[in-house]
């Protein structure tokens, strides 16, 4: 109380002051609290406070068996739930040296890419909305609905699927799956032009993002940024290309790299990635081989004692799963290297010296999902 009374009143305009952006702020896309230190409208520094949605997923994994862990990974980065499941499934298969059927690999790759498109569509919606364009939000969600319908028909749920199991899939794909996916690709190739006309070419959006929040390649590497945000700075970090899993080694796709590393470049990376994902799906969708949808697994899965690591390219970057096993049916220690947590760490570096309105644009372009940060 005493300190507050003794504050020097005369220099208030010159002084730095702190404001809380969040936990309930629409542009943080969840419960993230950013303590922003401001001088006028200029951001001097920024401190993210995490933990509002911490559920202790890593600790909960220690009491669960390996098939039960899958449904928890859905709830980390809920927008790329399939890809998170894929990481854990591949880790268990790698540890047990189980060869999954070729059909499973094809389906997993297609579903992962569909999930990536859906995730980027939602990112585009929220990016437009943060920039002040509510129309984007409606159009993006309308197209995302098509993917969610495919998911709902084939896997039973729209957001948290738990579709992969160690060794294969929960069930085979729906008979309509291939037809619907092809119809969606045809539909979305037409609609993605709307996205460009509506937002990419928009002068207000261009002026608000060009040259804002420039991240150099060196900084991207030293902060551990991955995913489209790092590729915008020219850092080639696509796990699908450099450490292929699934059937990514059999398909032809480009790893698109940016040059400038500003907010507009990060935006463009994700727009290009949607095109690349559609290309991957088109190459695979007609060639799904016949066969089983799951390999034969033991009823109780026990990993041999040791340490295991598996990484995948989630929609926002590299997701790593690390398991220490003591030979029991549940892991001794489980650790997730989530892409969003590392991507958040660079926010302070990027936003220094920017206006507070630019902070919203930078945050939107980094595309964080808060449950993945806190886990």
């Amino acid at each position: 109380m005493k300190e507050i009374i003794n504050l020097p009143v005369k220099n208030v305009e010159e002084e730095e002051y702190h404001i809380n952006m969040g936990p309930q702020h629409p542009s943080t896309h969840g419960v993230l609290r950013l303590v922003v230190s401001l001088k006028g409208e200029i951001v001097k520094s920024l401190k993210p406070h995490c933990g509002y949605i911490h559920r202790g997923i890593e600790k909960m994994c220690e009491k669960d068996t390996y098939p039960q862990i899958i449904h928890l990974t859905d709830r980390m980065d809920y927008l790329s739930a399939h890809i998170n499941n894929h990481a854990v499934c591949m880790l268990v298969e790698k540890a047990l040296e189980v060869e999954v059927p070729e059909r499973v690999k094809y389906i997993r790759t297609i579903v992962d890419e569909l999930n990536r498109i859906a995730s980027h569509q939602l990112w585009w919606c929220s990016f437009g909305m943060d920039m002040g364009g509510l129309t984007c939000f409606f159009y993006g969600l309308r197209d995302r609905e098509k993917i969610l319908d495919i998911f709902e028909e084939s896997f039973g749920s729209r957001l948290l699927h738990s579709y992969y199991t160690p060794g294969g899939l929960m069930m085979d794909i729906h008979p309509n799956f291939q037809k619907n996916v092809k119809a969606f690709i045809k539909y979305f190739r037409k609609k993605i032009k709307d996205y460009d006309e509506l937002l990419t070419g928009n002068i207000i959006m261009q002026l608000r993002t060009r040259g804002i929040g420039v991240l150099s390649k060196e900084d991207a590497i030293s902060y551990g940024i991955t995913g489209p945000s790092a590729r915008a700075s020219g850092f080639a970090c696509d796990v699908r290309k450099h450490d292929p899993y699934g059937v990514y080694d059999k398909v032809d796709f480009k790893e698109i790299l940016g040059t400038t590393g500003d907010t507009l470049e990060r935006y463009m990376m994700r727009m290009h990635e949607m095109h690349e994902s559609m290309k991957i799906i088109e190459q695979l969708i007609d060639n799904i081989p016949e066969g089983d949808y799951a390999a034969k697994m033991k009823a109780v899965i026990k990993l041999p004692a040791g340490e295991y690591f598996q990484r995948v390219e989630a929609a926002r970057g590299e997701l790593g799963v690390y398991v220490v096993s003591d030979g029991n049916k549940s892991p001794y220690r489980m650790k997730f290297r989530s892409p969003n947590f590392s991507n958040l760490s660079v926010l302070d570096h990027l936003s220094r010296g920017c206006k507070i309105a630019d902070l919203i644009a930078i945050g939107a372009s980094l595309d964080y999902v808060i449950p993945d940060i806190d886990r």
């Binding site: 039960q68 006309e197 928009n202």
Partner: protein
């Protein structure tokens, strides 16, 4: 002079980009059939969910009020968060032996994460997904359900 033209060219380009965006919204304004919305509470009677839709876990009964559940409890161990509780009862068989049967199959919908492990692990296919999705109730205790209907018994050919 050059910068003077550049200034107006910038304004022209800016207005053009805004009009391009307006063209998209305008097209949808004049072709409302392209916009897909569902009138949800009104279309309740015609709304049909997909066959595989995960609404809730149910135990299908046949017309004689019989089900497939043997009460083995595998679904209870498979469930990651204690949603399912299988209460067993012992009955005296005619030949003097005691036999375990299912008393109550308790399913707590409020805790269920819809992972589907109980249905996948069930050895006698007693559980299935139901398509019901309007689960809102005024009291939390109503979310705890008993899946086997009162007075139901196991289908005879399974017992043999």
């Amino acid at each position: 002079m050059n910068s003077f033209f550049e200034y107006f060219a910038d304004i022209f380009r800016a207005v053009k980009s805004l009009l391009t965006g307006m063209k998209v919204t305008g097209r949808y304004f004049f072709s409302p059939w392209e916009i897909v919305t569902q009138q949800y509470p009104e279309n309740r009677k015609t709304l049909k969910m997909y066959d595989r839709f995960k609404g809730e876990v149910i135990m299908p009964h046949n017309e004689h009020n019989e089900h497939h559940c043997t009460g083995c409890g595998i679904c209870e161990t498979a469930c990651p968060n204690g949603t399912i509780e299988v209460l067993q009862a012992k009955i005296d068989m005619p030949d003097g032996k005691k036999k375990r049967i299912i008393d109550k199959h308790i399913y707590r919908l409020g805790m269920c994460t819809f992972c589907g492990l109980c249905i996948k692990s069930c050895p006698s296919d007693a559980l299935a997904w139901g398509q019901e999705f309007e689960h809102a109730v005024f009291d939390r205790s109503k979310l705890t359900k008993t899946l086997n209907q009162p007075g139901s018994s196991i289908i005879k050919d399974i017992v043999e």
